[in-house]
């Protein structure tokens, strides 16, 4: 099993009264809440954490793309990946990814991913998410009625740009390019492995199964609640006539490791509550615009991750309002919608405990969901760099050795990067102390 150290890069200094005084962490969050000095510190510390994770033995480092929010401050994951490509010499660069429909023309994604694959010597995983409705539709103004068609057309263009032997014309509905000629080209041939992050869309399962892409279920809600989604995906794999190779799937999970369970609960309570209560404080009006879901998903009643987060926050606020007869709380999502850490642990949103406990639960999760890639969130919310590194080190040194070989005897990871041999890969060379 491969474990990727995945960073969301949340803004760490949202005020204590954020949920009562602000309606959403996304789209219309008050720009006055962002302090660039915090941003300077935050980005540097977060890059430190990713580099540290790579140095202590995680198989890969993972990042993604979001806009106009304090939940995840990577409008351009490729910028972060470029830095990591130089400073993390062996880890896979798992970019999950570029929201294809937001790039006009999407050939930009083909070019930048090819750059990353060249810089890293072939260590890129190319992730293509549709993107959340807040990012794609509200922040970037895409039309929900055409978003998915635009997304799929963009991926077709990227794949053809990476693999075509000659310059070609691309006459799409949304991209019309007389000359497509992708320079540079990726080291990995015919192209880097493709992973598709998803939030529960049925059509995405079928498409990944049929196309042979790796499906990443990016849930905030723990493995206990993920069974239905992953069973749906594996059913599609079976129907596509493909083997149930666990490496064709992954799952995102929050982890908090300490010397004991009691210590873990003490250490990770605050950052987890910060994440689930402030970073997921999404106004429901931004979570489910018509057209974003496919009709098959609507018919199935499947609920997206963000939609669920917004709904649960709304329901908690409504419950409190009902009890206190303060109807206004239903609209304002007051601090009363707070979810406790105990609830998060009980529901499996966060796996906490000693290294052995975490390893046991992780193996249980991986077997239940049948996944070969774990997107491990060892930093969440407003966790300090020191605590993130402590968590990361314990995970790397005491948990990963227990889970790493889970699928080794049965399956090969066909979705992992195939870099140049290390002897052929460039590493940053030190400059001479005194210029000549």
């Amino acid at each position: 099993m491969k474990t990727i150290w995945f960073h969301l890069m949340p803004y760490p200094e949202l005020p204590d009264d954020f949920t009562s005084e602000h309606r959403s962490v996304w789209v219309d969050i008050d720009p006055g809440l962002f302090d660039p000095r915090v941003g300077h510190r935050m980005y540097n510390e977060y890059i430190d954490e990713l580099e540290f994770a790579a140095s202590v033995g995680f198989d890969g480092v993972g990042i993604n793309e979001h806009h106009s929010n304090a939940y995840g401050l990577m409008p351009s994951p490729n910028l972060i990946a470029a830095a990591l490509a130089r400073t993390c010499p062996d880890a896979a660069l798992v970019v999950l990814g570029d929201s294809v429909a937001l790039y006009n023309p999407p050939i930009r994604v083909a070019e930048e991913f090819a750059m990353l694959d060249c810089i890293s010597g072939g260590r890129l995983v190319a992730g293509f998410p549709v993107g959340t409705p807040m990012d794609t539709l509200y922040a970037y103004g895409n039309n929900p009625a055409t978003l998915r068609e635009r997304y799929h057309e963009g991926i077709d263009l990227i794949l053809k740009a990476w693999t075509a032997d000659d310059v070609f014309s691309f006459n799409g509905k949304y991209s019309k390019l007389r000359y497509v000629n992708c320079w540079p080209r990726p080291v990995q041939q015919p192209h880097p492995p493709i992973w598709i992050p998803g939030g529960g869309s049925i059509d995405t399962w079928e498409w990944c199964a049929r196309s042979g892409y790796s499906y990443l279920y990016l849930s905030y809600f723990g493995y206990k609640a993920a069974m239905k989604t992953m069973q749906g995906f594996w059913k599609c794999v079976e129907e596509a006539g493909r083997p149930a190779n666990p490496f064709q799937a992954g799952f995102a999970q929050f982890f908090g490791v300490a010397d004991s369970e009691a210590e873990a609960i003490e250490l990770y309570r605050e950052p987890a509550e910060y994440f689930f209560n402030r970073c997921l404080h999404v106004y429901p009006g931004f979570a489910d615009p018509p057209g974003y879901k496919t009709l098959a998903t609507v018919r199935n009643g499947a609920e997206g991750m963000v939609e669920r987060a917004a709904r649960e926050a709304s329901e908690r606020a409504a419950e409190v309002a009902k009890k206190s007869e303060r109807k206004a709380a239903q609209q304002s999502f007051s601090a009363a919608s707070h979810m406790s850490f105990e609830q998060m642990v009980e529901k499996g949103y966060v796996i906490v405990g000693s290294p052995d406990q975490v390893a046991e639960k992780t193996i249980e999760m991986a077997k239940q969901l049948h996944i070969g890639h774990v997107m491990s969130l060892c930093h969440f919310g407003n966790m300090s760099r020191d605590l993130a590194m402590h968590n990361t080190e314990l995970m790397a040194t005491k948990v990963l050795p227990q889970i790493r070989h889970l699928w080794d005897e049965e399956w090969d990871d066909e979705w992992w990067p195939t870099p140049l041999p290390s002897s052929q890969r460039m590493t940053p060379s030190p400059f001479p102390a005194t210029p000549r």
């Binding site: 103004g141 895409n142 039309n143 929900p144 009625a145 429901p284 009006g285 018509p290 057209g291 009709l295």
Partner: protein, 256 residues
């Protein structure tokens, strides 16, 4: 009477009521054929009302060909011909009124006159149009009419058929609206509106929470033959749903 006629790869739904001179009605964000009292009210005034459902709404098939306002205008042009509305007067609401103006700009003979209820299509930075999709379903419902109860036939699940089907139909209708208004319902009409040569009557709900009634002045100034502006007191954005009698009377009077 509601009929389905073949159209493209699917069907076009046309609702007809009454006898007399023909007038068309093109719906806005709310479409519920057979259940809009405004149409019955017009029919009761001796009009033959022809109300096609636009692509994606109600039983008219969604069209994968529609990607932008140009495609929408082309679709409306075909629907007008198919419904026998070419050269007739047309009442249209909200997004439908925006499309009617766009069509009349490129095809000035399409309608003999227009009665437009709170049309979209123009934009003022100092008074932007409310985004009807930055809210929940119930929030949107409250934005569209002054009395949310009047749009129950669109927003509430059917009690006389499969709930999932009515939910899907509402979803595709709302998706069609989103495709028209997202992210800003202004596609250059201001450069074309001078080409609308037929007489136009404007109708606005006094309590419109989507587009401020002051936009009526902007439309009136931009049109070459705006005959009158009527404000319906107590009505919201879709005034024909809030006060079908008052709006039907305005339409009737405008037609003479």
């Amino acid at each position: 009477m509601i009929t389905l006629v073949p159209w493209k790869a699917g069907s076009l739904e046309i609702w007809e009521e009454g006898e007399g001179p023909t007038i068309g009605y093109v719906h806005g964000m709310v479409c519920a054929p057979g259940r809009l009292p405004f149409v019955a009210e017009l029919a009761g005034r001796g009009r033959h009302v022809v109300a096609p459902s636009l692509p994606g709404y109600s039983a008219t098939s969604p069209s994968s060909d529609i990607r932008n306002v140009h495609d929408w205008v082309f679709a409306l042009s075909e629907i007008v011909d198919r419904s026998g509305l070419a050269g007739c007067p047309l009442a249209a609401s909200s997004t439908g009124a925006m499309l009617a103006l766009e069509l009349a700009a490129v095809r000035p003979e399409a309608f003999s006159s227009l009665i437009l209820i709170a049309p979209l299509g123009l934009w003022r930075d100092d008074n932007p149009i409310t985004d009807p999709f930055s809210t929940t379903l119930s929030g949107q419902r409250a934005l569209l009419t002054n009395d949310p109860a009047v749009t129950a036939s669109f927003f509430d699940d059917a009690t006389d058929g499969p709930t999932v089907d009515s939910m899907i139909q509402r979803y595709t209708g709302r998706t069609a609206t989103a495709s028209l208004v997202w992210p800003i319902p202004e596609f250059g009409l201001t450069e074309r509106i001078h080409r609308v040569s037929c007489p136009v009557t404007l109708v606005w709900g006094s309590d419109d929470r989507i587009i401020d009634p002051s936009y009526a002045d902007l439309f009136a100034e931009s049109l070459s033959d705006c005959r009158a502006t009527h404000v319906v007191t107590g009505a919201g954005h879709h005034a024909e749903w809030d006060d079908p009698v008052a709006v039907a009377a305005i339409v009737d009077a405008a037609l003479g």
